[in-house]
Each structure stands twice: as C-alpha cells, then as structure tokens.
Point group: C2
Chain length 342, copies 2
C-alpha cells in the first residue's frame, strides 16, 4: 500500500520482477478492493501470489511512533515484516514511509547480536559499475565499532550483489590537511586494519569525490553524512540532466544534434537512472527488509524486489553473521569487534 502511488506501482513492479525470477512467490498485504483488480490484470503474478487483506495502511506522513501505535499487528507494513519474522517470507519489500518501516522492523525483527543500530545501505552508480554506500540515514552518529559493523554488513552486501570474494571497503573522510577527520573514523580505520577480516579488504579513507569514481566497492559512513552525500549526488545528477536538456533544446543545431545522438542520450539516462538501482537495504536486523523509493515507478519497484531476491537467494544474513560472529564460537564472536576497540 506504500509509496506515492501505492498498489498501482507495486503490483506491476512485482509482476516485472517475477518475469526475471520465475521461482519467486509473493505475499501481498493490502486492501483487497484496491489490490485485487490490479492483481487480476497480471494473471502470472496472481498465480504466484497470495493476497492478504488488511484495511490498515501506514500513511507516508505518519511519524514512526504514530505508525507503531496505529499499525502494529495489523497494518500491511507490519504484516509484511511479520511474515519475515515468522519465516513465511524471505524478504519484505516496501515503498512506504521509511521512518515507520525502520521503527517497525527494529521493533519486531530486533537487531543482530553485536549490532546496536540499524543502517540503510544504498546502491550508488559509479564509473566502474555500482558501489554499496551505508549508512544513508538510518541513525545519526557512529562510534568506531558501529563503523566497523557497517563495513562488515556493507561488505556482505557487496559479496552478494557483485559476486566478489573480498570487496574493497573505504571509510568516508575529509582530506583537508588541517583537519584530520573525526576520532571515531580514525579509530575505526585502525580497528579494521587490526582485524584484517578475510571477507573484506579495508583500503583506508576515501573522500566524497571517490564515491562516484567507484574507488571502493563499499563506502562506510554514519547516517547523517551518508544521507547528505546521497541526496547531494542525486541533486547534482538531476541538475546536470536539467542543464543538458535545456542546452539541447536551445538552438535548431542543438536539436538536430540531439536527434542524431538520441540513442546515446538514452544510454546515458539509463546509467544515471536512480530507478535502475532503486532499493535501500535495512541492515543490522535479523531479517531482510528492502526500502524502495516512495516516488518510484514500476521499473524501480521491480529493481527493489530484484535486490531483495538477491539478498535472500545468496544469503546476505548468513554472510553478515559469518563475519560478525567469528572466530569459531558464537559466544566469543560477537564480542570480538567490541573488544578490539576498547
């Protein structure tokens, strides 16, 4: 029911994702009177789905606390998360209210042992392909241990998505000489060097302009900075697209040029299209929850479902736990990173 366009985007999006992954099954939580007719228009999806009716939906403007009060036990969002908790679903995908999704997921799924705060990881288009950037806004501030946890979780996500043995990881920092970055970032760097994890290759600090160049597979930062960076990049891309469009329409020559180069522009648009890499992954929870952009179209929503499919199919949670819980005994494992900082 979530997102700016609700089921009219979610249902065609799920249908698209099903075509790409015909072994998927869907549990669809929402208002039958709205969802039913849309589902009927997609018979293949209807055959692979179960529609669970609920009349309660979290609104996009609900505060997390309101959402929990009004939507616990019965809203479509809660029921989707609950399906993950119960093991009925491998992953929950929502285009709804981010704050509410975060709060409900945290409340119902709980955090992984050793992880204090949740994170949202985004896929960032780069010159080399894509990178994982986290946290893009789930929690403000991070001590060295949380940054190390983010590195581990982002690394697991990169292993799943990019099929890498040992993705490269950088800590986002500023390079100006007189300010050598925040203490906790330096500490996290030291910690990651000492741990020398076999699952991730920590390469050091990266700066803002390294993200788009694809210098590392995983960029780690706390949620405030990550959110500002992500939105600033989105804004800059949009700004340049606007300037390009206006430059291309300004003169007859430019318009003729545009006609000739139309296909090239289409390629460019494709590479910059945020819809193509839609889907933030809520990390640090005991289940997989994907947040789609609220304003996305069905292509974008399908991309978010695809991402969820990959995360479930290739064992994101197992990969995270594998690293967080090493060495050997589970009891010792979770304390290992925590000890190394203190």
């Amino acid at each position: 029911m979530g997102g700016d366009h609700g089921p009219s985007v979610v249902i065609p999006g799920a249908a698209l994702a099903l075509e790409r992954h015909p072994d998927s099954e869907f549990l669809i939580f929402g208002n039958e009177s709205e969802v039913g007719p849309l589902l009927a228009a997609h018979p293949k999806l209807a055959a692979a789905s179960r529609l669970i009716h609920t009349e309660i939906a979290i609104a996009m403007h609900d505060k997390p606390s309101q959402a929990l009060r009004k939507g616990r036990w019965k809203s479509s969002m809660w029921l989707a998360i609950d399906a993950v908790k119960k093991g009925d679903a491998d992953v929950a995908v929502s285009a709804g209210n981010t704050g509410a999704l975060m709060a409900m997921s945290r409340f119902h799924l709980h955090m992984l042992p050793g992880v204090k705060n949740p994170a949202i990881a985004a896929l960032w288009p780069t010159l080399r392909g894509e990178s994982v950037v986290l946290d893009v806004g789930a929690s403000i501030g991070a001590d060295a241990q949380h940054l190390a946890n983010l590195a581990v979780m982002g690394g697991a996500m990169a292993r799943v998505l990019f099929d890498l043995e040992r993705p490269t990881v950088g800590l986002l920092n500023i390079g100006v000489e007189e300010v050598k970055g925040l203490d906790q970032i330096r500490e996290a760097g030291k910690l990651l060097r000492e741990l020398d994890l076999k699952e991730i290759d920590y390469v050091g600090f990266v700066e803002g302009d390294d993200i788009g160049q694809g210098k590392v597979d995983v960029v780690v930062t706390e949620g405030f900075t990550g959110n500002i960076a992500l939105k600033t990049a989105e804004g800059t891309a949009r700004q340049m697209a606007t300037l390009l469009r206006s430059a291309m329409g300004r003169t007859l020559r430019a318009r003729i040029g545009y006609l000739f180069a139309r296909r090239a522009f289409a390629v460019l648009r494709e590479k910059m299209d945020p819809g193509k890499v839609n889907g933030g992954v809520l990390l640090g929870l005991t289940g997989v929850v994907i947040k789609s952009h609220g304003g996305t179209d069905s292509d974008g929503f399908a991309a978010a479902v695809d991402m969820g499919y990959d995360m479930a199919r290739y064992g994101l949670l197992e990969k995270i736990n594998q690293t967080l819980r090493r060495p050997i005994s589970d009891e010792l494992g979770t304390a290992r990173i925590a000890e190394a900082v203190s």
Copy 2:
C-alpha cells in the same frame, strides 16, 4: 608560489583579473627568479604590481604545524597574509596548501570577536545561479551558535556577491522521519528564527538535493558534512561528464549529433566548470583571505582574484561585523547570539 602549477598559473591569472578590474593593485610574494620572467611577459600586470622576493615557500604537502614553523615571518604565504594584517593589502589570494593557509591566517589575523572557529565558504553552481555553501572543511563539528555565526557570515557573503538585500539561508539537515536531525541544528534553527535578523532570511532546513536546485542563497552546515557534500557533488558532476563524453563517442550517429550540438555542449561545460566558480573564502577572520583550488588554471585563479576583489570592494568584513555586533553597542552585540542559545 602555491598550487600545483605555482607562478605559471598565478601570474597569468592575476593579469586576467586586472583586465576585468583595472583599479586593482597587486603585491606579489615569491621567488624573483621564477616570478620575474613571468611578470615581464605581462607588462600591464607588472606596471600594477610590486614583487616582493622571498625564497621560502610552503609546500603543498607540508602539515600546518610544519608550515607555521618553517614559514612564519618569511614565507610567501605568510607575507601575503601579513600584508592584509598591516593594511597594505585588502585581500590575500593563495592557491597553496589549504591547511597551512588556514593555520597561518588564524594565527596571524585572529578570529573576529564572537567567532570561535574559521570556516571556508564555497560558491556552488545551481539551477538558479549560484549559492554560498559553508563550512566546506575548515573545522569539524559546530554548536548552535557557530552554525548561527556561519549563517551570518555566509549571508554577508551572499549580499556582497549576489547583491541581495536579504539572502535566504537554510540549515543543511536530513529529512528522514525517524531521525529528526542533530540537536545543534534544531537549536540553531530556533535561534535564527528568534533572532530574526534583518540581514538574512532564515527559511528552515534544506536537504542535500536542495543545494543544486538553488533552493536558498546560503546553505549552512559544519565542515565535515560540507566537505563531503562538496566533493560528492564535484565527483558526481565529473562522473556525468565522463559518461556523457563516452556516450557521445560511441557511435557514428552520436558523433554526428555531437558535432551539431557542439555549441550546446560548450554552454553546458561552462555552466558546470568548477574553474568558473573557483575560490573559497576563509571566513571568521579579521581579514579577507581567498583560497583558490590548487589544481586550477589561470582562468580559475583569475576567478579567485575576482572573488577577493568583490569581497574587499563591497565590504564583506563590514557586513559581517554589522550583523555579528548588533545591537548598537559593540560590547553587547557580540554576546547577543551567544546569549540567545544558552
């Protein structure tokens, strides 16, 4: 002597700036054997300049503390700042080591009364024109009062540069519902509303994607986030330019299209050219110091000199002091903002 290219960029840059502002006079600090021949090639500049010889120059990789030890009293950078301190110059412009420039300026010029930390303000190209963004990396972290001071200083800069009576000012924040931003940002917002300064129009929080849209004339944030945002935007612009170039060369049709639209692309490049808006202003000091990008060309360096010219010509410092030191008596004035937060 500073920057990646030293006098070979600085001297032609100054010559360009002089053409645009024929009433300028230059004090040029550097090694005569290097600067002299270059200056001789620009007779108009030579006629409007005095070359002060020094053999000591701060290297780009010197740490601020090293720079102060080695360069105090005698380096070209120090002498330029000293000329501002003595009133021999209205503004110092350097393409040299940012950290050293910051440290020396702070050490020698001191902070304005009521301002604890220096800031660097950048001009950011937007869809509406340009905005002032600060702090882009001079100091990490900011309490509510420092953020309010940044708003005042950035506002003064916008009044000078954009010739506005009352520029709009926004505090950079994140909009995700479950995290309502940092306490100090909320406090600064409250403070700015209460102060209701006649020189700036505080409009509230802005997000990362609002910067490039030009939603406000002045975007205020602390130095860590500001530096990440600036570099992320630069990286994204470079990334898109690379993608565009490669898309335009991919097929014959695209190359033909490029030929037709060449002029339009030139317009676009111009609008995105960081050189055109080169020049960070060091704010919070008792004198005007401009930092040019180290890697800039002579056009870019000329833009930095132009900015310095405007700052001196249209009274940046007076405009800052006017606001910081109100109401009426100087003694009361500086404490005014401080009191309002406590």
